[in-house]
Symmetry: C2
Subunit: 241 residues, 2 copies
């Protein structure tokens, strides 16, 4: 009889409520680019990242906290905000010690859904912090939900590939009865050696590469370039010191 905790993969925010998040660590995954940027800002010394749903809220919280406001639509900084969604915008020389108030389309939505559904814990993951995520999940020995943020609720490949990469690394520590997880691991194994070329076939690549973000997207699928664990605590994403 197995006493291992369970691991499930959720392919869209629309499917989240099928799963029991109350007894699980939810890993919010938004590879292009929210959770890659969150890891990067925190790795480079940001005091915290505040994920917000709307532009108005981003501006309001930016004013309250003196934080940097950030968000993009269609590859441009949103009017009223100061910076974009690119991890390259947040080097240590700029972001260290500061608060980043970030609004995104998909990642923030899933994060707030997970909280609303009573997730016992929320962390964020992407390739730049994959080892930190995996190490934490193995150490905690709790049930895990790998939550793909998707694109406006549509399945996407980049978040699935990250779920698969995590599963490949940590699966022996979990009980996995989940076709989404089987698929994610297969897809990751199939493409882990041609990641840069494969992501050029995804719909998100076509959407973002049109805005000249090729190097951003390659960074977002490169492991451990910003290897910290962002954890949600009282409205903020922070890392342990």
């Amino acid at each position: 009889m197995s006493t291992k905790p369970t691991l499930n993969t959720v392919l869209s925010p629309r499917l989240l409520d099928i799963y029991d998040v109350k007894n699980a660590i939810v890993v919010v995954i938004d590879v292009f680019r929210a959770t890659s940027t969150i890891a990067t800002a925190l790795y480079n010394g940001a005091a915290r990242v505040i994920p917000v749903d709307s532009v108005d809220q981003c501006i309001a919280i930016g004013q309250q906290t003196g934080g940097i406001t950030a968000g993009e639509r269609d590859g441009k900084v949103i009017e009223g905000l100061s910076y974009g969604n690119s991890p390259a915008e947040y080097p240590r020389s700029f972001i260290e010690g500061k608060t980043l108030v970030l609004t995104t389309t998909n990642g923030t939505k899933l994060l707030h859904m997970a909280l609303k559904n009573g997730a016992s814990e929320v962390v964020t993951g992407s390739f730049p912090n994959i080892s930190a995520v995996c190490g934490y999940l193995v150490a905690e020995k709790k049930n895990v939900i790998l939550g793909c943020s998707a694109w406006k609720d549509k399945f996407n490949l980049e978040d699935t590939l990250f779920a698969g990469a995590v599963i490949e690394r940590i699966k022996e520590h979990f009980t996995i009865h989940c076709d989404s997880s089987l698929m994610a691991e297969d897809m990751y194994k199939l493409h882990k050696n041609d990641m840069f070329s494969f992501i050029r076939k995804t719909t998100h690549w076509h959407r973002l590469a049109a805005y000249g973000m090729e190097s951003d997207l390659e960074y977002c699928v490169s492991p451990d370039l910003a290897n910290v664990l962002p954890r949600y605590q009282n409205g903020d994403l922070v890392v342990d010191n």
Copy 2:
């Protein structure tokens, strides 16, 4: 500039309304076992299959039409109905000329959602009738939605594999900007030569094989053993004579 119709794959009924079904042929896919059984019954000469949502409706319509009532839960014929969901129960010697009234958990639900959302046309597909489905989709030159019935809204592999098999065969006739379709084709190509062993890893296999349905499940992933095209017309699934 491409004038090809579009093809999209929908991985769960929960995601159906993201897509424009009004201008598309929706292929309802429920490999284990509803759409495999539907193809088989019609191939073996059933006059029609009436897909219904509930057991009560199944009994009522069975009485009205003099049809055979069928449906299972947990591998047993539902109380009040006469037969199960296995394609093996519907040989020509039994089903020819008859009406089959079938209630299932997932396939029927997606079919009725597609109709409610205004799908311009609904057909059903599974491996036993894959060539009929592909031939029809290519000939019609309309937008296509491959609709996976999933399992209680959860992603499943067997329906995805069928979507991938269809895509592999007909993709040059369509414009495909859809990560679900990319993934489905990859998964099918990865497993087309080990289908019988791969399906033994799926959650559905574990659910059904416990009831001794191994040969059923292998039949359901075997191509062209019941190669007809079930089309929905006025409440019935029928094939052209």
